[in-house]
Symmetry: C2
Subunit: 314 residues, 2 copies
């Protein structure tokens, strides 16, 4: 039996560097279909329109709203960064809108730009839509939203407005140190639950509480293995604690994180647990939100704002 | 004409992970011959005695003193770390001495171990001999000796005694970030004179003077390229400044570096210039010493201490 897509009103796509995820939804935002592919923009040399036609093949030609690296210089078309502070209305005004050769309406959500002269600014592309998704479910949230990952993003949120944000390359730094540096001989390849290992908390405590500088702490991963025969899985947790601790210490120092501010961690369970445990060392109590559907929620929120689907406006 | 090695008294070898450098000297320390090879211990799976026989082939079977990773667990034989504070007399007492199958006397200089509970200790192997070499030419030196490189070593020296030291993995971290991370797209592969680029000093200033945390600064290498079109060679200098600045800020915070303490940088010209320029930002005036011959000086100093060659004792 063929699927019934007659009520379809919108296509929403999260199109990053390595992955592409597309949803077909009705006027009320109900999901009718979902598709995934590994044709992220990193895997494409041009041909974005063809890739779009492929992932949406068989779906009605309803308007499509897209977020992520698809709006970058290396993407389909470049959607210029919107300066912070930015609310959903600013993003909606600056959507990059065009029509495909097949006559389908497209809107690409622009990234955000932060004014941070001490580090020559900052940029986000894709996560702004997750932040809109967070505000959709918690319109009054005022505090810090953390999106950990390869490049962690910390956003200062104020009732739907992204005031400013900061990027830390912690995930990438951890992977380089654990797998590419000489420290790889002193750590395990991977373990189940980093945050449950006491060495993780020890490392965070040294960096965040005892203020051991991150750059001064890295060699200790080697000496722990060499002088104290620390098992490699415990040592991997220690290295992770140093990196996440370094991120938290920097956020505290920058005034981005305050012990009494409400914090949301938007991530999958394992990573969220690690960040929550690390933040607890800094006496910060964070709540976890599943990041899986937040992009879709954000895309629908923006689509409602421009009248592409029904329901509450922004 | 065959070389005249009849006055030979000592073989001195600097045997590291990737290189091997051997000298034949007379009783007064005069060099009679010098050889190099890439048979570092990283290239050898056992067979160290054969490699020794090969590099010293044709030389008289005089006693040989060796320093570097050759004394590690992966080396010829393991010379246990000597705890700091340590003077040349401590190293001389703890030399690992044995005789080869061919009847030649061997002494391997042990590495040093620092008691640093906040980072589970620290170790040096090879650089201790350069520090002895520095003390040989400046017996009254009291201050900090910096040996920059893949793994930078900072030693607190006090008239021939290594009081304590600290390792920073700056060189390796820089190489990983510049060549393996996503930042590689934003920086040049290499440039001539890092320290002469204003972006280098800007980065050091931000980290050392403005106290921008190292972990918070890394993404700026990307945004400078993306938002300000900073040329990639300038951006490489900026990244280098962040890494070296992070090292200096950490040394200042640890109390290892004090603005008024005498500082020696032991390195080749390019790297030495970069560290000297970076230290100048911290108002530290450092003198540069060529590291090339310091190992040999150190090895001869230790050999004199145990009576293997003549001249002033330690």
């Amino acid at each position: 039996m063929a699927a019934d897509f007659s009520t379809a009103h919108l296509i929403a796509i999260d199109w990053g560097t390595s992955r592409l995820r597309a949803w077909l939804v009705d006027a009320g935002g109900k999901e009718l279909d979902e598709r995934e592919s590994d044709e992220g923009i990193g895997a494409l040399a041009g041909g974005h329109e063809a890739a779009f036609e492929e992932i949406t093949a068989g779906w009605p030609k309803v308007p499509a709203i897209l977020a992520g690296m698809i709006g970058s210089r290396q993407g389909w078309r470049e959607a210029a960064y919107v300066p912070c502070p930015a609310a959903v209305s600013h993003l909606a005004e600056r959507l990059l809108r065009f029509r495909t050769a097949a006559g389908q309406d497209i809107a690409i959500v622009p990234g955000l730009m932060a004014d941070a002269p001490e580090r020559d600014g900052d940029v986000i592309r894709g996560e702004e839509t997750q932040l809109i998704g967070l505000s959709d479910s918690e319109p009054d949230f005022a505090g810090v939203a953390i999106l950990p990952g390869t490049h962690s993003k910390w956003a200062a949120m104020d009732r739907g407005t992204v005031r400013t944000f900061q990027t830390f390359i912690s995930g990438e730094l951890f992977a380089l140190l654990a797998h590419q540096s000489f420290l790889r001989h002193s750590v395990a390849e991977g373990i189940e639950d980093l945050a449950a290992v006491p060495d993780f908390t020890l490392a965070v405590t040294r960096i965040v509480e005892d203020r051991l500088p991150f750059a001064a702490a890295l060699f200790s991963v080697r000496t722990r293995y060499l002088l104290a025969d620390t098992p490699r899985d415990q040592n991997l947790a220690y290295l992770s604690g140093l990196v996440i601790g370094g991120e938290i210490a920097a956020a505290l120092q920058a005034g981005l994180l305050k012990p009494d501010a409400p914090v949301r961690i938007i991530a999958s369970t394992g990573l969220a647990n690690a960040y929550r445990a690390a933040l607890a060392v800094a006496k910060v109590d964070a709540e976890v939100r599943d990041g899986g559907k937040l992009v879709l929620t954000g895309l629908m929120h923006i689509a409602r704002t421009i009248g592409w689907i029904k329901g509450k406006a922004a």
